[in-house]
């Protein structure tokens, strides 16, 4: 059969979100690949112009609906950098606990989609059941299940509910038990290992040259985690280790994310136990100064950056968003060439693509 271009087109059950992947196939082997994004562009950076600093927070929630606390927290960090606002320590600890819970929920959702693509519907239902535990805690904390609208410029919206500490510690214990169960379910079956080991190799130099960040970078052996290398918020006082894995295949990316969930449980325990008493919110100035602000954060998918320009009024002049998946997906050809068509699912699933933040 001659080489032909196949469109794993915008409407497809495998691709989470709306993007197009064109692969050039010779029989069963992949010879070339071209990802095409942009089908979900909603004009978020334009929507932000003309809204006040507080009105922007629900909009940044909807950037990546899989892990929305990360983006509203990033926006608040950026705006606080611009205005020079000091956040009280209790608010910082609450934010860290909520973000790490959001990280666990986001990784669990990744695992659900990944295992369904590989054919194991069991993974979907078990992980969603466990994700409910964390979503319920975040719901009691902020009032909503998916788009929380919880961080504010100058702190968090309101204080934690009663029983927050007890529920959170129970959830962390439950999660560690369940992670052992997942190891049984996934790594205990030879079929899963056959589909993941030595598939989709991404070498260290390629990853660094292409600007890949987050779990795919750490799975290729590079020890780079923004929470340790450029710490923000209250992370210098917490004790944890970024996770790396020496091979660069799909199994390594899976392993890195599972171990990140362990580390997140550790961080949540420390944050909840070290939380001081006091104020949780400071009044932020209404008018932003003339100037610029920058914020960088470790998203569950990579490194997210926001850059804001203020012009003296109470509405920002420009907000620029750098999304991690937009850069990581350009490494797709390097990972796909040479493998079979049936591996596309495993490889692209390992990148955890959330198209909401790619296309903004």
């Amino acid at each position: 059969m001659a080489e032909m271009w196949i469109n794993m087109g915008p409407q497809h059950p495998m691709t989470h979100g709306l993007w197009n992947l064109r692969v050039k196939v010779d029989g069963e082997t992949i010879v070339d690949a071209q990802p095409e994004v942009g089908y979900l562009h909603r004009g978020i950076e334009k929507l932000v112009e003309g809204r006040t600093y507080t009105q922007v927070i629900p909009i940044t929630d909807r950037l990546c609906y899989g892990s929305s606390l990360t983006w509203s927290h990033l926006y608040c960090l950026t705006a606080e950098n611009l205005m020079g606002v000091e956040v009280p320590p209790r608010a910082e600890y609450i934010r860290v606990a909520a973000i790490e819970m959001q990280r666990i929920a986001s990784h669990l959702m990744w695992l659900a989609a990944y295992s369904t693509d590989l054919g194991l519907m069991l993974g979907f239902l078990y992980t969603m059941r466990d994700r409910e535990v964390f979503i319920d805690i975040l719901q009691a904390l902020s009032g909503s299940r998916l788009t929380y609208n919880y961080p504010r410029i100058g702190g968090v919206a309101h204080d934690v509910p009663p029983n927050f500490e007890r529920d959170t510690l129970r959830a962390c214990n439950y999660m560690e038990k369940k992670l052992k169960e997942y190891e049984d379910l996934f790594e205990g079956s030879k079929v899963f290992m056959m589909r993941n080991v030595d598939v989709g190799l991404l070498k260290k130099e390629d990853a660094m040259n292409l600007g890949v960040t987050g779990p795919p970078l750490r799975a290729s052996g590079v020890k780079y985690d923004l929470r340790k290398d450029m710490p923000y918020s209250v992370y210098p006082e917490l004790d944890f280790e970024p996770v790396t894995h020496p091979d660069g295949d799909c199994y390594a990316r899976y392993r890195v994310r599972m171990d990140e969930m362990y580390e997140s449980c550790k961080i949540i325990r420390q944050a909840v136990q070290k939380m001081p008493k006091g104020k949780w919110r400071v009044v932020a100035p209404r008018n932003g100064p003339v100037g610029t602000g920058l914020g960088r954060v470790e998203d569950p998918r990579g490194e997210g950056v926001m850059y804001i320009v203020g012009d003296g009024t109470d509405r920002p002049y420009r907000l620029k968003i750098r999304s991690p998946i937009f850069v990581t997906v350009s490494a797709a050809p390097k990972m796909l060439i040479g493998y079979k068509m049936a591996d596309v699912v495993a490889i692209m699933g390992g990148l955890d693509m959330c198209i909401g933040e790619t296309d903004r």
Binding site: M4, M14, G119, L125, F192, M194, A342
Partner: protein
């Protein structure tokens, strides 16, 4: 009592009932109608006519049993999956009987859908593929006896063992299916179904061979090609116990033939939408799905008859019930493995088929030869 005797008696009683009215009608009417009625009545009472009707009734009974079992399998599949995945299976439709009527609701839904044929599809192949698929599976079903007295056949010789070589015929019909899948995949005029059809044909073909080798070892041990002979040879000990490797190989090959996870790459793949059945709508798709489960039932019945002792069991339940219980146990085992394992990639499937199962089947054959020549069977 033989199934044939039962059906014969039933039809005879029915014909007598109708003939009461028929003859009276013939006597009442004038001669040019009356002779006609009497002639038809006499024809209906003849042995040949009742025998043919009895055979048709037998066929109907076996088909109804098979289809009800298929409905049960689908229901059990969904309930079982539900409890393993921590939710309820079908719950509301048929609330009191656990949701069994969900099958009927799904069937009605499939009937009322609009049937579309793609414009550029090869019309003859498109229409023929479901017919061959379903027809060959039902033909394979027809040769399997459910009990010592429960099979399609006449009682011409009461001590006969049914059709000679019935197991060979069953496997022959069972193996026509890849042919129809290729026709379906190719005539839909779609890149993806073509790939799906080719993959499916490759998979099924490569798993036929270990299956037939395993079955050959059973034929060797039993000394006959027919089901009656095989099951009778198991009255001391089931063949599954000395030929345990054969049993495991047979069940794995069965899962690959019926296209059940973990081997369902041609069908429910995440990248090929529905595989080779993509372009079929409405009840045509329903036929494919039903035949998938029917082949699962046939495979379970074959495994029971060949390895698990057929209908032998303690005498408090009749023979067909034991047969069905064992077929259900095989089915439950396959289902349990189905929902616990991810899908295997296509070249790995072929790997498993040729490199792992074929040596196991040959080992099994050698064990059978050893046991037979040692005189234990």
């Amino acid at each position: 009592m033989n199934l044939f005797d039962f059906c014969y008696g039933l039809i005879h009683w029915l014909v007598d009932l109708i003939n009461n009215i028929w003859y009276r009608l013939g006597d009442w009417l004038p001669w040019w109608f009356g002779d006609f009625f009497t002639g038809v009545g006499d024809f209906a009472r003849s042995h040949g006519h009742i025998a043919v009707m009895a055979i048709l009734l037998e066929v109907l009974i076996i088909i109804i049993i098979a289809l009800i079992n298929v409905l049960n399998f689908i229901w059990l599949d969904r309930k079982f999956m539900g409890r393993m995945f921590d939710f309820y299976g079908p719950y509301y439709v048929g609330y009191r009987i656990g949701g069994w009527l969900q099958n009927l609701a799904d069937g009605i839904k499939l009937f009322v859908k609009e049937i579309i044929t793609p414009a550029k599809a090869d019309k003859l192949g498109f229409l023929l593929a479901p017919i061959i698929y379903v027809g060959s599976s039902f033909l394979a079903l027809a040769t399997i006896p459910l009990g010592r007295q429960f099979y399609i056949g006449t009682n011409a010789d009461p001590l006969s063992t049914g059709v000679e070589a019935s197991a060979l015929i069953a496997f022959a019909f069972f193996a026509i299916a890849p042919f129809s899948i290729l026709i379906a995949g190719w005539s839909s005029n779609n890149k993806y179904t073509l790939i799906g059809g080719m993959r499916s044909a490759a998979q099924m073909m490569s798993y036929e061979i270990p299956m037939l080798l395993t079955v050959a070892s059973v034929f060797l041990m039993a000394g006959s090609f027919g089901f009656m002979g095989i099951v009778d040879a198991q009255h001391d000990i089931w063949f599954g116990i000395p030929l345990f490797i054969g049993l495991v190989t047979f069940i794995i090959c069965l899962a690959a033939e019926v296209e059940i996870q973990p081997f369902d790459l041609p069908e429910a793949e995440a990248e090929l939408v529905e595989g080779w059945t993509t372009e079929y709508c409405g009840m045509r798709f329903g036929l494919f799905m039903m035949t998938g489960y029917l082949r699962g039932y046939i495979g379970g019945a074959l495994a029971t008859a060949l390895f698990l002792g057929g209908w032998h069991g303690p005498a408090f339940l009749p023979d067909p019930i034991w047969f069905l219980i064992k077929a259900y146990i095989v089915f439950v085992l396959i289902e349990w493995a189905r929902w616990s394992l991810p899908r295997v990639r296509v070249d790995q499937i072929l790997n498993i088929g040729w490199k792992r199962l074929l040596p196991m089947a040959i080992l099994n054959l050698m064990i059978a030869v050893l046991l037979k020549t040692a005189g234990w069977f």
